[in-house]
């Protein structure tokens, strides 16, 4: 189990880094898809099957396709992007290190009480239970989420309409 975890984590982190560092945007997109698949693997290790499926469908299947379409629309597959200047890149690296440091320090200092993990054997994450919880306790956010998706759809259409120049 632990080795599987380490392999999956390596894939996740590695592809994430490669996403950022690769010059060709298409390559970045592919790496990101791989990253999402590895995270879906993590979910499967948690036995959250439904979540893993939905993750793959939504992220790899919808969001990344959208991004790839946009990249191809803007014809960005050429590697003609200049880098940021050295100072900015060093600052970015510094911010990365600082952020990591702060977070880790917070976690270590706050010393979360991690008690012995007990298993109750109850089923809490099968799709049946999830459905019941979603549509019973979290009904209102569910409805709001649907409105949110509607609004974003309308927004996306409106924002990208071509403006007709009046003659």
């Amino acid at each position: 189990m632990l080795t599987l975890f380490y392999i999956l984590s390596a894939i996740t982190l590695g592809t994430a880094f490669l996403t950022i560092l690769s010059k060709n945007p298409i390559h970045s997109a592919i790496y990101l898809v791989l990253c999402f698949f590895s995270i879906a693997g993590h979910y499967l290790m948690f036995n959250a099957q439904f979540l893993a499926m939905v993750h793959v469908i939504v992220y790899s299947g919808a969001i990344m396709i959208l991004m790839l379409f946009t990249i191809m629309l803007m014809n960005l597959n050429k590697e003609d992007e200049k880098n940021k200047n050295l100072l900015s890149r060093l600052a970015a690296a510094g911010a990365f290190g600082l952020l990591g440091l702060i977070f880790l320090a917070t976690f270590i200092k706050s010393q979360p009480v991690i008690s012995k993990y007990e298993v109750s054997g109850e089923d809490y994450q099968s799709i049946k239970i999830l459905g019941q919880v979603l549509l019973h306790d979290y009904m209102v956010p569910f409805e709001f989420a649907s409105i949110l998706l509607l609004v974003s759809m309308i927004g996306a259409v409106l924002l990208s309409k071509k403006e007709h120049i009046n003659s």
């Binding site: 970015a92 911010a95 600082l98 702060i102 977070f103 917070t106 200092k109």
Partner: protein
């Protein structure tokens, strides 16, 4: 009843002022004049009733209109006091005021701002009444300041001429310097006696109130400085000749009969205090005597008729102060009254002459007017005779009393005063002969238009000349109605000089001096027909006198220029430094802002970096920094 009458007396001129200043233009050309005259005449009528009342009852009338201010143990009320002295003063102020208002109706007829003129005149009468009627020093100060203000407004009445404006400013500023002394005196008196009411101070002194003698001396000296400013004594007298820039009725009313006598009124009012500081009285006497002779000397060679009369006024005021300094308060009051009569008549007469010559004031261009302007000539001569001290006329009695009191005080001062009187007789008759006798020296066109002035001008002249002639009755040597009348107001009884040999000799010397002065003037200007020389031809002593001992120039160099230098120092050095500092602060803020502006460089990447750093710091603060 008394309160209502007193309010009528006080506020009728003020109402006249308000109506004339706001609605005067709509009322037409002659209505403002009659309105103003009626207002002052009403005040005169009420004063007459009060005079008869006080004469009968010999009791002062107190009127309190309400409280003004209260401090810990110090109260000031709006209260007025009508006793013998104030009613007497009001009589001649409102009486002569009415006559001069009547005169101005005709004199200022052609002026476009005639409503403003009468408004200011009424305002002046209102303030003068306040000054005289007040029962404490602060009410008097209100009137004091108010008459100074009206004097400024009226001197600069023809404000389009910058010289007249300068003269008005000079009068106001010199008055102000005196007022500073007056205020300091009031403060010290208030501190010493915890009140400024005359009656209360007198009662306190009678009951033996303890006070610091040196401080009282300083207070009375400061009050005298205030009187110097208002009554044109050395060193604050140079504004009075310049004030002749105002219309002649103004000169007659304010600078001859009423405002300049305010100083004498104040000192007489406070006679019980001045009697406690004989050193200050000594100073007053010396200043008065010196002023009278200096002014008389300057008046010997002046060529503008109004300036001659102005210096004559300063000189006569000096004589009144000399009388006050010798402790003879009633004599000073007597001379104030007679001087008001003949000096007002002289000024109005000169106004009549100026009016006939269409504005000419230089006596070298006049002459022979006695044939054409008979009434003016006769009244002018009568008043000149009165001022010279010819026996039988009012001026003789009052001036003689002054000289006798001065002799009993100090023979040196008597000598100075007598010399001044001889000079007075000389220059007055010089004026009469050069202006009215021999041949006319003006242009042909002026000669054509010479005529006697209308009735509204000549009637006041006649009334005043009669008063100047017969006014001496009120205080004859040996039996003085005035001294008896004023006795309740005076702290010390009037010095009663028995008419012995000494007094008769002194009287004789004074009369002889007057006739010598008149005689010299007759020979020089009537017989020989001399005319005063042109401006450039004065030489030696005469030149010094003509240039007023260069006092104005000395003041300008010693006082005015250093003040300007201080002013320009503050403007060029201090103000530049302070504004530089303030602007510098502004520049610092702008520079800091400019630097801060560089944070907003529009680059999204930079914003994101700052975003991340901000999140780090917040989390660091919340979780790590405890």
């Amino acid at each position: 009843m008394d309160t209502n009458l007193a309010l009528l007396l006080l506020f009728t001129p003020f109402a006249g002022f308000l109506i004339n200043i706001f609605f005067g233009k709509k009322l037409g050309h002659s209505a403002p004049g009659w309105l103003g005259t009626a207002a002052v005449a009403t005040s005169f009528a009420v004063t007459l009733t009060f005079f008869l009342q006080v004469l009968a009852t010999k009791e002062p009338i107190f009127i309190n209109l309400g409280q003004w201010l209260t401090l810990a143990n110090f109260t000031v009320d709006f209260s007025f006091q009508l006793d013998q002295l104030s009613v007497l003063w009001l009589m001649f102020v409102t009486g002569i005021g009415t006559l001069i208002h009547m005169y101005s109706i005709s004199y200022m007829h052609d002026d476009e701002n005639v409503h403003k003129f009468f408004a200011y005149l009424n305002l002046f009468v209102f303030f003068m009444i306040t000054l005289v009627m007040g029962s404490n020093l602060l009410i008097m100060f209100i009137g004091w300041e108010g008459v100074g203000l009206c004097s400024y407004l009226l001197i600069g009445f023809w404000h389009k001429n910058q010289d007249y404006n300068d003269a008005a400013k000079k009068a106001f500023i010199m008055n102000r310097i005196g007022d500073l002394g007056f205020l300091i005196g009031i403060f010290i008196l208030g501190y010493l006696f915890h009140t400024t009411e005359y009656a209360v101070i007198k009662t306190e002194l009678d009951n033996g109130w303890p006070f610091n003698k040196e401080l009282l001396g300083i207070a009375m000296l400061c009050l005298f400085i205030g009187a110097c400013g208002k009554s044109a004594q050395i060193p604050l007298y140079t504004w009075l000749p310049d004030a002749m820039a105002g219309p002649t009725p103004v000169s007659a009313l304010i600078h001859a009969a009423t405002m300049v006598t305010a100083g004498i009124f104040m000192i007489t009012r406070l006679n019980f205090l001045f009697n406690l500081t004989p050193d200050v009285l000594e100073v007053i006497a010396i200043v008065g005597a010196v002023t009278s002779i200096v002014a008389a000397a300057i008046g010997l060679v002046q060529t503008d008729i109004k300036k001659v009369l102005a210096y004559s006024t300063v000189s006569q005021l000096g004589l009144m102060f000399l009388a006050l300094g010798c402790g003879a308060y009633e004599v000073a009051v007597f001379h104030v009254i007679t001087h008001a009569f003949f000096k007002a008549c002289l000024f109005l007469g000169s106004g009549s002459v100026i009016h006939a010559l269409h504005g000419e004031q230089d006596m070298r261009k006049m002459g022979g007017l006695s044939k054409v302007m008979k009434i003016t000539f006769i009244t002018f001569v009568l008043s000149s005779v009165a001022i010279s001290g010819v026996p039988g006329f009012s001026g003789f009695f009052s001036k003689d009393e002054i000289l006798i009191s001065a002799f009993h005080h100090s023979p040196v001062l008597w000598g100075i005063a007598s010399l001044a009187s001889i000079m007075t007789a000389f220059y007055m008759f010089r004026l009469v002969y050069v202006t009215f006798f021999n041949d006319f020296r003006g242009t042909e066109e002026q000669k054509h238009h010479l005529h006697e002035s209308p009735a509204l001008i000549t009637i006041p002249l006649v009334i005043l000349a009669l008063l100047a002639t017969f006014g001496g009755i009120i205080s004859l040597p040996g039996h003085s109605w005035l001294n008896e009348y004023l006795a309740p107001v005076m702290a010390a009884p009037a010095a009663h000089h028995e008419l012995g040999n000494l007094e008769y000799i002194l009287m004789g010397i004074a009369v002889l001096g007057a006739f010598i002065g008149i005689g010299i003037a007759y020979f020089k200007y009537r017989k020989k027909g001399e005319v005063p020389p042109g401006d450039a031809e004065f030489t030696g002593l005469a030149n010094v006198l003509y240039n007023k001992f260069y006092v104005d120039e000395i003041y300008s160099a010693v006082i005015v220029k250093p003040l300007y230098m201080i002013g320009s120092f503050f403007k060029n050095v201090t103000e530049v430094a302070i504004s530089g500092f303030v602007f510098g602060l502004g520049k610092v803020a702008v520079t800091l802002g400019g630097e801060g502006r560089k944070l907003q460089n529009g680059s999204v990447g930079f914003y994101l970096l700052v975003f991340v750093l901000g999140v780090c710091s917040i989390i660091g603060y919340i979780f790590l920094a405890k």
